[in-house]
Amino acid sequence: MALAVGSAPRPFQCPRCRAPLPEFTIRPNEETCAACGTTFAAVAFSPPPPVVRGPEAAFADALAVPGTGGQVGATPCAAHPNHAAVANCSRCGVFICDLCRIPLDGLELCPGCFDRLSREGALGAIETHYFDASGLAIALGVVGWLTSCLGLLIGPVVIALGLKALRQRRAWREAGGRGGPIAAIASGILMTFFGLILLAAIFGEPSFLAGLKEGLK
């Protein structure tokens, strides 16, 4: 069973100021926003209504399928004693019915485990926040050169972040976009060498060592 849900009426927005635009003005030619005066070309679409499978549909299916819905002798769901279990939770093993089953990432989870794993960030399929390793590598690369005396400390961090960014790109199946991380890694390597040379120049300098000894005395 599928439920067709119509989209909530929502006005179109001006692409510049996001002021609501009356829908009837949208034509495939030049439009002008009454609020900011921006002229733009717009093409409107009529997307098909979304087809969602709500809990009511799953509930109806659970009752309709023979062998479920309180059949005598069937293993009951842990949360719904009147429903027959159709699977075990992949994490905790509890019996779950069709209403409770959450198939995700090749697993079948109960709602409790889904909540816990999503809080822990262990479910990659529902992840929407990521660490921007590439951005931090590039920013630290610039900071490292501006404070070149800290190159020996910042350089290895930049290299590690650049490698992490490349791994991220691979995991996200991104075509291209490797220029930034590779440039950051190269910058990190140069920065580290520069830091080593600076260190050698400072500590290898006889006058510097003499001055240091004088200072210590």
């Binding site: 921006t38 733009f40 070309a41 093409v43 660490f131």
Partner: protein, 162 residues
């Protein structure tokens, strides 16, 4: 910790098609299959949302100047100029040479307005700015229109008779 999925769904490859920048955030828009994947990066944290072609209601393109960038570049140019003027003896010439790039950038931003492509769907929306690549802006807009039409007509078509 759970084991990785034995046979997870293979995502289609994603390709960068445009970007935009705000005051403290950077937006990069990728095409992945029948959707746009929008990565909003703010303080080294990426928030990802998707604009599904099957839900797109409006696509627009317009010409616009990025006044924020023009003002910021002008301010930087003025700052470098003032520092250079105040320290003319001690390396002032070097600082003064830093005036040129931001002022040039501000001038180009004012003289050549960029193109902005926006896609609005039932639940989400995104915007891409193309500074000097005007042909690319129109190419991306046409590509998106074609992709949205194809996706929506495919979904609207009746299922084949078995």
């Amino acid at each position: 910790m759970i084991a990785p999925p034995p046979g997870g769904v293979e995502l289609p490859e994603r390709r960068l098609i445009g970007s935009a920048a705000g005051v403290a955030e950077r937006v990069r828009v990728y095409r992945r299959g029948d959707a746009l994947e929008v990565d909003t990066s703010s303080f080294f944290r990426i928030t990802r949302h998707r604009v599904l072609f099957e839900e797109v209601e409006l696509a627009t393109i317009h010409k616009g100047r990025n006044w924020r960038a023009v003002v910021v570049c002008t301010l930087f140019g003025m700052l470098f100029g003032m520092i250079g003027a105040a320290n003319q003896k001690a390396g002032g010439a070097i600082v003064s040479s830093l005036v040129l790039p931001p002022i040039l950038f501000a001038f180009v931003g004012m003289a050549l307005p960029g193109w902005v492509v926006s896609i609005q769907s039932r639940r989400t929306w995104t915007r891409m700015r193309f500074g000097v690549r005007h042909a690319k802006a129109h190419r991306v807009f046409e590509e998106l229109l074609t992709a949205v039409r194809e996706t929506q007509s495919r979904l609207a078509a009746p299922p084949p008779l078995v």
